[in-house]
């Protein structure tokens, strides 16, 4: 491949902050198209897949992982500075994911004691947040992990010069499109589908399970109170529901509020 050909390709980097690296892995899981796909980009950095890395300006930076340490934040700011587009991939980068579930509920010191037996914040860790809390994000691809088809379509859109299409409707829609029996209605299971961003093709209800919310609540459209009510009505305890709502939404204000209120109720 000649230099000029390479010059026309979008220069990309795939970076990861604090998380499980599952979103990079999902890209590597696109086995059928991986070689063709990667050959369409000029890859400047892909930590999990390659030793080759260049600290250069990028057309597109894909960032997975949450911002949890000063090191993360420094890396992120550096990436933002040198990239024209920054795309958050995966729930960690979008919402902070499960590691954010206790935000504003337990302190870092409490967590340090629980896990390491020391209180000092050795790692300079702070409450995990999505990258959008700190820098401008151009697009978000949600999911824990991202759906590989969705990621592929987003990459194709970007190659074609278009904005990626990401659903902003709830899992219930896909559940219905597939004709899956509704697990809330049929079995009273505590499904979070009504408030969670679709795009997974309703994997959990398709397996007869209640959605745990891994694609995160729909921004600006989540009726957390209604979910609390709907599950209460089906006999679930507040502690159970609120824990569950927090799994992938520790950073959502309206869900944090539920938590705080219930805690204080419990204190009495």
């Amino acid at each position: 491949m000649t230099e000029t050909e390479n010059n026309l390709k979008p220069r990309i980097g795939v970076f990861s902050l604090t998380g499980c690296a599952g979103d990079q892995l999902m890209i590597l899981n696109l086995e059928d198209t991986l070689i063709e796909l990667l050959s369409k980009f000029d890859i400047k950095s892909f930590q999990e897949a390659s030793s080759y890395s260049e600290n250069t300006n990028l057309d597109i930076a894909f960032v997975e992982g949450s911002v949890s340490t000063e090191h993360d934040l420094k890396t992120l700011k550096n990436i933002r500075e040198k990239s024209s587009l920054l795309i958050a991939i995966g729930d960690c980068a979008v919402n902070g994911c499960v590691q954010a579930m206790r935000n504003k509920q337990t302190s870092i010191a409490e967590r340090m004691i629980d896990v390491y037996g020391v209180e000092d914040n050795i790692y300079k860790t702070f409450e995990p947040k999505g990258v959008g809390e700190y820098v401008k994000v151009d697009f978000e691809i949600p999911g824990c992990p991202i759906e590989k088809e969705e990621a592929l379509n987003a990459l194709i859109s970007l190659l074609n010069g278009d904005a990626p299409l990401i659903p902003d409707y709830p899992v219930c829609v896909e559940c219905k499109l597939n004709g899956y029996p509704c697990v809330i209605i049929e079995e009273g299971k505590p499904c979070l589908g009504p408030i969670i961003t679709a795009g997974c093709d309703a994997r959990c209800p398709g397996l007869g399970l209640d959605c745990v919310g891994c694609r995160g609540p729909i921004k600006g459209e989540t009726n957390a109170k209604a979910e609390l009510e709907a599950l209460r009505k089906r006999g679930y305890a507040d502690k159970y529901i609120i824990n569950r709502l927090r799994f992938f939404a520790g950073n959502f204000d309206d869900i944090q509020i539920l938590g705080v209120k219930e805690n204080s109720k419990g204190d009495k």
Partner: protein, 294 residues
């Protein structure tokens, strides 16, 4: 399987592109299939669904009057996926269209009447087709007044064309008025020095306030951003226009253009309208009857 599907997009070629502002371009299109050319008729106010394969479709008003068969013009603002993709196209490239859809303006009904065309921003695009139609059939219509509101000189669409009308319109019994929002705009200021009664700084409603219009025997035709309607209609009704004398064209999300996808449905149970097929042209009376239309 050979089926004729009236909803399948047709191929068209871009014969010319004019850059009009930083975000709007004028596209000249030519239909490619000669058989369809003959069947392709459009009237002012109708729109097309324009497709870029692999990107999507967008409803776009035809902004000229039909002169030659199979040729038309679209004025497109880039705001999203499809319109960005259209803006990436070059002369000679192809795109796909279907239509024309929508009711269009009642040009026959308006014959022998004076016309008052009021547009804000991109809203001038569909009104330009009305204007061109009336000019093409000049004897069938009375006096024509065009009121056009822009942000600034550089955002003015069809600039040369309209400046010519601004200066020489009277020969055709056309009064062209311009309102500009940015009071510091130098070029517009020069125009207002040239004809202070025809160009002024302010919103388009200011033009209505400061111009003598008689509602008798006049139809008002309005198009602009949604917030503009309320103010314009208020001015007009104060001037004595009846709700049936005011025509306006509406915008809604659309996926089909032919009354199926449901996105453009508006109203309450007493009056439900599809903006695509019952409109996009409505009278103010329709708007009064149909909740949420305006």
């Amino acid at each position: 399987m050979t089926v004729k599907n009236s909803l399948t997009p047709l191929e068209a070629q871009i014969t010319r592109i004019e850059e009009m502002t930083s975000i709007e371009k004028l596209f000249y299109l030519k239909l490619i299939d000669l058989n369809t050319v003959k069947e392709f008729h459009y009237t002012p106010g109708q729109f097309l669904e324009v497709s870029i394969p692999g990107v999507g479709e967008a409803p776009i008003s035809i902004c000229d009057v039909q002169r030659e068969h199979g040729r038309l013009q679209l004025c497109i603002r880039k705001v999203g996926r499809v319109t960005n993709a259209i803006h990436r196209l070059k002369k000679g490239d192809r795109l796909w269209i279907r239509g024309p859809y929508g009711n269009g303006f009642p040009m026959n009904l308006m014959e022998n009447h004076d016309l008052l065309l009021i547009a804000g921003g991109l809203g001038i695009a569909p009104l330009r087709s009305v204007l061109q139609y009336a000019l093409l059939h000049r004897n069938s219509y009375g006096s024509i007044t065009v009121m056009y509101g822009v942000k600034c000189y550089s955002m003015m669409l069809f600039r040369e064309e309209f400046l010519k009308l601004f200066r020489e319109g009277d020969k055709l019994n056309v009064k062209f008025l311009l309102a500009y929002e940015d009071s510091d705009d130098f070029q517009c200021y020069q125009l207002s020095c040239e004809r202070s009664d025809r160009c002024m700084s302010g919103l388009v409603t200011k033009l209505i306030e400061s111009t003598a219009i008689t509602p008798d025997n006049t139809y008002a035709v309005v198009c602009g951003p949604p917030i503009m309607y309320k103010f314009v209609v208020k001015e007009l009704t104060q001037r004595g226009f009846t709700p049936a004398q005011i025509y306006m064209t509406m915008e809604r999300r659309m996926k089909c253009g032919v009354g199926k996808c449901g996105h453009c449905i508006t109203g309450s149970s007493n009056s439900i309208k599809y903006v695509c097929k019952d409109g996009p042209v409505f009278t103010y009376w329709d708007a009064l009857k149909t909740r949420g239309l305006m």
